[in-house]
Amino acid sequence: MSERRDTAAMIELDGVRFARGEQVIFDNVDMRFPRGQVTAVLGPSGTGKTTLLRLIGGQVRPAHGRVLVDGIEVSRVRRKALYALRRRMGVLFQNGALFTDLTVGENVAFPLRAHSRLDEALIERIVLFKLEAVGLRSAREKYPAELSGGMARRAALARAMALDPEIMLYDEPFAGQDPVSMGVLLRLIRRLNDALGLTSIVVTHDVSEALSIADQVIVIAGGRVIGRGTPEEVRAQREHEPALAQFLDGAAEGPLNAAEDEAPLAADLGLGGDR
């Protein structure tokens, strides 16, 4: 697989190694996320896709290697610089992570109130704009508990966009969504990215959805990158990489779960004799 040298990368991972206890999650991984594009990061559950976002956001640090966001090394900067960097990122969390004690409107206003000295009337207007962008203007006075899953996710999206970030990180945005709200979200992610000139990273295991909107795709499994490129390029790589083929096809048998049950069942049941 040829390494794509893209000087316009907004986010770069350079030889990153990350382990949680004994379990190695990333082993010497390189990734590049081009500016202005939607990059989908695909992989089976438990391959560290969320960890990737936490590395980019500076919530966890790699054991080795560098994580660069717009040329700034996230894993090295001091807290103040890190917070300044985070102000340029929006994150859509897996379950929205809306503040349950605040209304939708207050949730969207929260980052504005925390980081700007705008007056209330202006904040109200921005909140309305953001909610309009995700089609939730009427839900402004509602509490998160009163929203459906899809609405909550869109409300969280409005909040993530409140400070006009340059980078949007989506953590499993399609998980548990019905087909209609999935379609709405897909269109939103694409439209926001293009209209606002963002750099978006969508972490997901929904193959067809991701391939349908992404400019670039990175497939990870077992701590390494098993496919990367445009959706067409990734589809073409499947012949050389059985694990990639298994993941894209959703096949039950293949190299991805081969390691899982290598010990014979009899041994675990204590029937092997030599335990």
Binding site: G57, R86, F93, Q94, N95, A97, T100, A114
Partner: protein, 262 residues
């Protein structure tokens, strides 16, 4: 033999776990100490927490204080009248409350009523990624969520303890003077004469300040470090009540020894 070794090993592990727990709480306390003053840049947040932790605990504190006062009045009268000293009932009730029962019982009730709630709230915010969301919005959760809750508890406990003692003294008055016929003037007079502002009231106040700090620290720590699962949250809230109660009682003994010990 093996059973004995196992038991010793288990004891050792328990001890090490305890030391580790205490150590990580101490580190957390240092981290928290840095944001405690800056938290006051948003006094509204703190006031809200004083309301949630303190004002909403008023009912249980006042009712409990009343009952404790009534019991003290009854028991005290029975004992004191044996020595023809029932006119000292007031000072006995007041000293018991101000020195010991006010700070201690109010703190124990607070840990159960409000400390557990603080832990549960923070743990739930962690489980639902609300704390992570704050971090990614470049808002320090320690300063925005943990700090105000610490202050809320820390401020509430001494005030609640004072109210507890006051209501208790009134309870003692009701039983002693109104029901059992102790002389009203000597009930209040003895309190005024024999209670020392600094030694007794001050000592009690220092105690309940310390209890407030300890409960506040344990409550926010257990919530912040809770495992983000249902059972993790359950364990954290239980831990808050158990640790706070033991810490209050242990600390009370140590402080009493220093303040009132010979």
């Amino acid at each position: 033999m093996k059973a004995v070794v196992d038991a010793i090993a288990r004891l050792g592990r328990l001890f090490l776990d305890g030391v580790q727990h205490a150590g990580s709480m101490a580190l957390f306390a240092v981290e928290l100490a840095w944001v405690l003053i800056p938290t006051w840049t948003r006094p509204r947040d703190i006031l809200q927490q004083v309301y949630a932790a303190g004002v909403l605990s008023l009912v249980i504190i006042l009712v409990a204080g009343g009952f404790v006062g009534l019991v003290l009045g009854l028991q005290g009268y029975n004992i004191l009248s044996n020595f023809n000293a029932s006119e000292s009932l007031g000072v006995m009730v007041a000293l018991s409350l101000v020195r010991e029962l006010g700070p201690v019982v109010a703190a124990l009730l607070f840990a159960g009523r409000a400390g557990s709630a603080i832990t549960a709230e923070i743990a739930l915010m962690k489980t639902t990624e609300q704390l992570a969301a704050l971090e990614m919005m470049a808002v320090d959760p320690l300063r925005r969520v943990i700090g105000p809750r610490f202050w809320g508890a820390m401020i509430s406990v001494p005030l609640l303890a004072a109210l507890f003692s006051l209501v208790g003294i009134v309870g003692g008055y009701l039983i002693g003077v109104v029901v059992l016929g102790v002389d009203q003037a000597s009930y209040w007079g003895q309190i005024r004469e024999q209670m020392e502002a600094w030694d007794d009231v001050g000592g009690g106040a220092i105690k309940s300040l310390a209890f407030g700090a300890v409960i506040a620290l344990i409550s926010v720590y257990e919530g912040y470090r809770a495992e983000p699962t249902a059972s993790g949250m359950a364990r954290a809230t239980t831990q808050t009540v158990v640790l706070s109660s033991l810490a209050v009682l242990g600390l009370d003994f140590v402080m009493t020894a220093f303040m009132f010990g010979a």
